[in-house]
């Protein structure tokens, strides 16, 4: 298209009701053409419901959704060839190989010229190309799903939790793929509950909780606008260090790794704290000072944690 519209996706007052449950509660947002847009929210927040209304798997209860400038409830036929979708819990035909599966989907899009080998290489499935779907590990299946979503060279790609269930290396590989797609100018709509994924990939993050968007902006903006403190982390502290810090008027907390976290408002507070520990003869192995991350923003905004378990908090390495 010569003059690309500014917005690939426009959502206005969207609601979705399942019986008594209002799963999506009057949300509005826009996604710019060519950006990576991430929907960040805990389980049951309404991420999938929203995405699947936009990519036309489900129908809205009320509200307007325009995708590539067209109403999704009226122009499905025209929109479908221009988008690619990886639904949550993607699955495919058990006895069909990776290559055959991609061929099948490219035929559905009447794309005789699809670059199947290129796609296979893109998602690092070259040595599994002749393997049947049921013999692929969960991570490999997920990567095939991403390749399928790209088979029609779509303008907008929807990926519902593309890295859930992948090991850290595979996750990083998927990120590489997505960054590559972004360079090609594709618009990417991502849902995730990994804040680091949103932080690394997204131009815009929308935080969704209980069917409502509670904050939107770039990761930096979100942190800037919603926090006014720094986080000081001390490792392997003496028992008395906690007391010293308390005396200074801060509220230290142990995190899951038994590190001590202290929220401070100014950089001088950090020096003050470290000096106080030194003066009292306390010791620690190492320290780290950083801005709060999206996780903490989320916690502050919703009062609920993004994750139930600690293991997935994975620090950016």
């Amino acid at each position: 298209m010569a003059n690309q519209a500014k917005h690939a996706i426009e959502v206005e007052n969207l609601t979705k009701r399942y019986g008594n449950l209002l799963a999506v509660n009057g949300i509005s947002f826009t996604v710019r053409t060519g950006e990576v847009f991430a929907f960040l929210g805990p389980n049951g927040a309404g991420k999938s419901t929203t995405v699947e209304i936009i990519d036309m798997i489900r129908r809205p209860t009320s509200g307007k959704v325009r995708l590539l400038g067209m109403d999704v409830t009226k122009k499905k036929r025209a929109i479908v060839p221009r988008i690619g979708v990886l639904p949550q819990d993607f699955s495919s035909f058990d006895r069909i190989t990776v290559r055959e599966t991609l061929q099948f989907y490219s035929r559905l899009f009447s794309r005789g010229n699809a670059d199947i080998d290129g796609l296979i290489e893109l998602v690092h499935l070259k040595d599994k190309a002749e393997e049947q779907y049921k013999n692929l590990s969960g991570g490999l299946q997920q990567r095939l799903g991403i390749a399928i979503a790209l088979v029609n060279d779509p303008e907008v790609v929807f990926l519902d939790e593309p890295t859930t269930g992948l090991d850290p290396r595979a996750r990083r590989e998927v990120w590489e793929v997505l960054l590559g797609l972004k360079k090609q100018g594709k618009t990417i709509f991502l849902t995730t509950h990994y804040m680091e994924e949103a932080e690394i990939l997204a131009d815009t993050v929308a935080i969704i909780s209980r069917g409502m968007i509670i904050a939107t902006g770039s990761p930096a903006e979100l942190i800037e606008n919603n926090t006014n403190y720094l986080v000081l982390t001390l490792q392997s502290v003496d028992a008395n260090v906690v007391e010293i810090i308390r005396k200074l008027g801060f509220e230290p907390v142990h995190d899951n790794h038994q590190d001590l976290k202290v929220r401070v408002e100014h950089t001088e507070d950090i020096l003050k704290t470290l000096n106080a520990i030194k003066d009292a003869g306390g010791s620690f192995l190492s320290l780290d000072v950083r801005r709060p991350n999206l996780e903490e923003v989320f916690l502050k905004l919703t009062g609920e944690a993004l994750h139930a378990g600690p293991a997935e908090n994975g620090e950016v390495g």
Binding site: M56, R77, F90, F93, R95, F104, L108, S110
Partner: protein
């Protein structure tokens, strides 16, 4: 409707079928095994060669000739019983339902009659039999008929009453020829119904339908390719069944457009029912159970294996509401009796049925709103 899309879908289904060895076995081999087993069991019924135990107390030339005649004319397989034993005890001991005893004076009496010395000389042949046996009566009637014929011939004059048999059917048919159309109808029903139920519930549960709904494939393409696939399977399976029937049992059946037509209607009707089932019974296992509940009564009550005239009246009435009955009868009308008018009548009934259920099936198949 896009041919390219339908073809792509068909390829995936056929490959899956080919790679699912157990499914392939049950679809293709099971009906063939059924034909082989039942065909062999009922082969005797068609040939009608009966065993006959004979105790010849006379052992004359005449009695030996008499036994020979029975063997050739009556098509009996003769087994001799030692004249020294007690025939009753022997029959009890060996669980025989019939022994024919030829008396000691058979030769003498026979010669008296033959030489016209004594006009009224007669011989009494004794049946030692087990009245509780169901088949013995047939055997005895058969023998009686044979003896009547022999008496007649001995009288030396041509019989006055003769008879001719005209079957109300165009052609005499054997049990196996009755059986095969039933097995074809049943095999196509089972493959179409279970194929549809299994595929739909699996794709629904795995979310593949949801993914497909984000591609240009339409519900019509999808249903059409399923029909085509089931039809292709039905044709392959029918060809296999017919080949075996011809090779092993040398059946004489008429293969023509009716066969193709009834298979197609069979597929449409049961793919339709399958689609309805998957809509209303979401759990894969309950859908299979529901399919079983449909298949079993049809299999046994609609005359797949035996004529429904063998069942009590109320079951016959019930059979007439089963769609499979009309496919069975239609196939038999065309394959055995070459009765186009009857075939047309059955085709019209099952055609209407298929149209209704297939249409309901289409409307029942969900495409959007994956979950």
């Amino acid at each position: 409707m896009k041919l390219r899309v339908i073809r792509a879908n068909l390829i995936v289904k056929l490959k899956t079928f080919y790679r699912e060895r157990t499914a392939m076995f049950f679809t293709l081999a099971f009906p063939i095994i059924l034909i082989l087993v039942f065909g062999t069991i009922f082969l005797d019924r068609d040939k009608l060669s009966l065993d006959l135990y004979v105790q010849d107390l006379d052992h004359s030339q005449a009695s030996a000739r008499f036994v020979k005649t029975l063997q050739f004319n009556g098509n009996f397989k003769i087994i001799e019983v030692d004249p020294a034993t007690d025939a009753r005890e022997y029959a009890q001991k060996h669980k025989l339902n019939l022994i024919l005893v030829i008396p000691k004076d058979f030769g003498i009496l026979h010669d008296q009659r033959a030489d016209n010395k004594t006009h009224d000389a007669s011989v009494i042949l004794r049946y030692i039999y087990d009245p509780s046996s169901t088949s013995v009566k047939t055997k005895m009637e058969y023998l009686n008929m044979e003896f009547a014929g022999m008496n007649q011939r001995m009288s030396g004059r041509p019989p006055f009453y003769r008879w001719e048999e005209t079957s109300i059917l165009n052609q005499k048919y054997r049990f196996i020829e009755f059986f095969i159309p039933g097995v074809i109808a049943m095999a196509v029903m089972i493959a179409s119904l279970f194929g549809t139920v299994n595929m739909n519930t699996e794709l629904l549960q795995k979310g593949i339908i949801r993914k497909l709904s984000t591609t240009p494939i339409t519900r019509t393409d999808w249903i059409l390719s399923n029909i085509l696939y089931q039809f292709a399977l039905a044709i392959i399976s029918t060809i296999a069944m017919l080949l075996v029937s011809y090779w092993v049992f040398h059946v004489e059946l008429h293969i023509n457009g009716w066969l193709l037509g009834f298979i197609l209607l069979d597929v449409f009707a049961f793919v339709g029912i399958g689609m309805i089932l998957t809509r209303f019974v979401q759990e894969a296992q309950s859908a299979v159970a529901a399919a079983n509940a449909i298949v079993f009564p049809m299999m046994f009550l609609s005359g797949s294996f035996f004529p429904i005239e063998m069942m009590p009246g109320f079951l016959q009435t019930f059979a007439r509401v089963l769609p499979l009955y009309y496919i069975n009868e239609g196939l038999r009308a065309s394959m055995i009796f070459s009765d186009n008018l009857a075939a047309l009548r059955y085709a019209a009934i099952i055609g209407a049925f298929a149209a209704v259920f297939f249409t309901l099936g289409i409307t029942a198949t969900k495409w959007e709103e994956g979950k």
